[in-house]
Amino acid sequence: MSAIVKIPTSLRGLTGGSSEVEVPAGPLDEVITSLTDTYPDLGERLLDDAGNLRRFVNVFVADDDIRFLDGLETAVSSGQVVTILPAVAGG
């Protein structure tokens, strides 16, 4: 019962080179906690001092922006893909 988190190239140095990490399915905040428990350096990059997602980090569950879903409470089911991307692109 795992979800898959896709890691952008620039952060793969912090996941031992892995482009995808399997974590237990569940609410998104728990998915991210599982991820950052395994790779603490990654947590520092994704989350600010208060533990919130940084302003310029976008997270997608099954290709949908979590701001159109339930934010960090979005349910991530088994087999679903969570994508982390830099926000400052396009236009």
Partner: protein, 407 residues
Amino acid sequence: MTFATSLKCRECARTYEPGPLYFCEWCFGPLEVAYDYDRIAEVVSRESIEKGPPSLWRYSDLLPVSRSATVDLGAGLTPLIKADRLADELGLTDLWIKNDTLNPTNSFKDRPVTVALSKAVEFGFETVACASTGNLANSVAAHAAHAGLDSYVFVPHDIEPAKIVAAAVLGNVVEVEGNYDDVNRLCVELHDTYEWGFANINLRPYYAEGSKTIAFETAEQLGWRLPDHVIVPVASGALLTKVKKGFDELVQVDLVPEDRQVRISGAQAEGCSPVAVAFENGSEDIRPQKPDTIAKSLAIGDPADGYYALRAVRKSGGAVAAVTDEETIDAIRLLARTEGIFTEPAGGVTIATLVKLAAQGIVDPSERVVAYVTGHGLKTPEVVNAQALARVPANVAGFQEVLGEKE
């Protein structure tokens, strides 16, 4: 040569060697080109610029590319028109239109693209790409063809047909099943796999610098004076943010005599107004939207630079307003019939916003105002229901029968 020194994170100020990078690996903040302004101030002058080419490359000292290494179709130095008839309609006294429909591919996007693709060549990319609502696709495909590069330009599947044609005759268009924000996400993911130069992703810090030149030209064409107030359409917010940077740089390197803030106001469509909503709410938090507007070139629901555009507007004492599709079409006609300029809906949104802000007194009648009209109406002919007045036989009697005899 260029006076660009590094890429610098706007959030945490970490610096990076110039390269195809766009976000800070530490905090995900956007990277921006940093310059040695002291050296620029030593070499640049009004005279040195005026002796330069009749394009935006006359400002190369303030761009991150050497003038001798450009991919150049002649972008920039578009007309600045005194708009007295439109001013009369709106109760203004000193109104100007920057007609950026007259760029090589008929939109302001040629400004950022000539810079981005010059860097693509410098970095050795053989293929370039972009996520676009249409105008950028056209411009990237054109500049790529001129430079002998392959291009893949990604657009939402439902943009205006003329924009698909204009890009498809020049390069490879990929229609994506989704809105612009979906296209953008796809391209960010593709950029991780394909070693392409994406104009508005890994080349974005350079790309965005090109938009400063519309501010440089505005001041030069006003006789090296700053305007009081400019009206700028807001999609990603990058243009507005760079307009502010452009005016600030002119002050910094002493090209204009005044040291003051130009008021900058933003224009959005009601059907895609995340920055206007945040402005109205007094918030710094830009909530993304699902766009629904005829102004497809402004239909970015998750604006990358929305946060910075909002800050630039507030710092300058401007406003952000949103207008309906109906107001947009009325404004397209108003601009056409008063000033002879035919714009696509993005320009209609800008003029409609000017109408609104003038009526509210936010644009003051005594101000010198410049409105940026950024894309040509022939790209979107279907939005205005404009038809011939009459069809007549090819003789005078036939004409008079339809339209009446001369009195």
